[in-house]
Symmetry: C2
Subunit: 337 residues, 2 copies
């Protein structure tokens, strides 16, 4: 072997060695890096990963092009904690209390009287009409930008009564991992919530990685106006759209215009969204989060008036949808602690 | 120089030479490839390119993060030909004629009587109420999927009366280039049209590269129903939202939840969208297409009742928005020919 041919040989050998090392590193990495570390091994985790593998396998029978990989998530109870009451309801109650000094009549007028007396039963007794008055008084009469600021600020100032942490920390760690896992595999992740869209948009990008244009929710009517020549969108005291139950597929079609291939919920309010996502011969996936963990979070869903999922659970069993047993399936519930 | 050191030197020299060649190739490529070849040199083309350069220049004073690069485009008259009548109106008239045998009463009932007699003046005389009846009769009473199929099929079968080409070929080549140019620079391109959203969605992805979830338009109400256990979304005979004039900023906020940084229109119906996009201290861009080319397309916009843009043109002059003079600024109007 001449000097130069030895050198070439040596160089080639070294390159080959480097390549092999690199390949080995990747292989080990792939084998050891779990994209869903807060999920315990079990049927729920397996079903998720099998579905994602199937729809992303090029040339596979169930392959779905990236553009069609739409996943829709309910928010309250699916991505963040919804007990002891919807976060947006806590916001409305706080807003009433803050504005009460300017409205002396509220002391004697429902539903405000009940709110100020912390009488939740009284509030509920005021029915849909009372709830609408509450929303009107606390969520309308300002511009969209002003409302976004109010909601965002309130969230930085408020804490959950049981966990004593900001609400935006009481998001489910396993679901954060699931959102990221789906996006890493070319999915577009959407929120489809009964909650107000403008209550969610100011923080969903930071907390969930879901940008404002991928948040679908209930809306109130807005009006374009020129105030001193400057355009504003004013929030009117009128409901535009309720994105719950039968409204969820309606909202999905209106905003996305495609059928999701995966849908995630936790209550009967999500049933129609799951029915819609799965009513196709194309690949699809449906998952329900069942809150079974009284210790780390709450156990509810079957009997309680709150977040009923009788019908959805029955249909899940019948149709083979995936049901998460929070206590069993989640290694960790909230981030950080 | 030893044999091996010469070889190393030679190898190094060759690598350097290859790199230089590559760099030179890219430089020439960058200098000669015009991203907007159908635009003539002039103030409109320059303004577009200056804006895109400014908002994409990292570290520049006007840099805008990718996530916020939202561009909204009107459709009729901005992206495709809107004369002698809106394409969707031509669709409705054809649908009435096709369904007429099943509706003998239409021969004597407005607005159908006028439609069947090709009496456009009579149709217009039936006013908003007549137009609503026309839409109800031709656009509702079927599922969303059925309607999408009907609209898609009609577009493959119909031709423009003057140009004798399918409507989907009568899109503006310079605007197709502009859409692609913006997307190549990280923009998300949206359609914000007064037209029906479900009339556009079946073809906007193929023709414009705009996916269904980035199409905002007028909507009619839909209802989620189980037909023989199978979920469908039925189109109801009721208007949900008119995405025109003051409705455009409302629709933009409802669907996107962010203010666009660039907006493109061609009539007074787009004025509020342009006002909304530009009412900010952040970088912004507004453009109006002025139809000045009676030979290659049509010349209209100032006096004609159709596509008025008196107010928008006046405001464009006052605020320095870009105005495209179709005859001067566009080298080519439609693709291919």
């Amino acid at each position: 072997m001449t000097n130069s041919s030895y050198q070439r040989f040596h160089f080639g050998l070294r390159s080959l060695f480097c390549l092999l090392l690199l390949a080995a590193t990747f292989a080990v990495h792939a084998r050891t890096t779990d994209p869903l570390p807060s999920w315990n091994k079990g049927p729920a985790k397996s079903a998720i990963m099998q579905f994602v593998n199937a729809v992303t396998k090029k040339g596979g029978a169930d392959f779905v092009p990236t553009a069609e990989r739409i996943a829709t998530f309910d928010n309250d109870g699916t991505l963040w904690c919804e007990l002891p009451m919807y976060v947006q309801l806590a916001f409305a109650l706080d807003r009433v209390k803050a504005a009460a000094p300017e409205h002396p009549d509220w002391k004697t007028t429902e539903p405000f009287k009940s709110v100020l007396a912390n009488d939740m039963k009284g509030l509920m007794a005021s029915g849909e009409h009372g709830l609408l008055e509450l929303i009107t008084a606390t969520h309308t009469g300002m511009s969209v930008e002003e409302f976004n600021q109010i909601a965002k600020y309130w969230l930085t100032q408020s804490k959950h009564p049981k966990f004593n942490r900001p609400y935006t920390e009481l998001v489910y760690q396993p679901m954060l991992e699931l959102l990221a896992y789906l996006r890493d595999h070319g999915f577009k992740t959407y929120i489809v919530s009964g909650g107000g869209v403008e209550f969610m948009r100011p923080w969903t990008e930071k907390i969930y990685g879901v940008p404002p244009e991928q948040v679908i929710g209930s809306t109130i009517k807005t009006k374009f106006e020129l105030l001193d020549g400057k355009p504003v969108l004013m929030r009117l005291p009128e409901v535009d759209f309720i994105d719950d139950k039968e409204g969820k597929p309606v909202g999905i079609q209106k905003f996305i215009g495609r059928r999701p291939i995966a849908a995630f919920g936790n209550s009967d309010g999500d049933l129609q969204m799951l029915q819609w996502a799965t009513a196709t011969n194309a690949p699809h996936f449906a998952l329900l989060v069942h809150h079974t963990d009284a210790e780390r979070e709450y156990a509810y869903g079957r009997e309680s008036a709150f977040g009923r999922l009788d019908k959805a659970l029955a249909e899940a069993q019948q149709k083979g949808w995936t049901v998460v047993d929070m206590k069993k399936d989640w290694k960790q519930v909230f981030p950080g602690k």
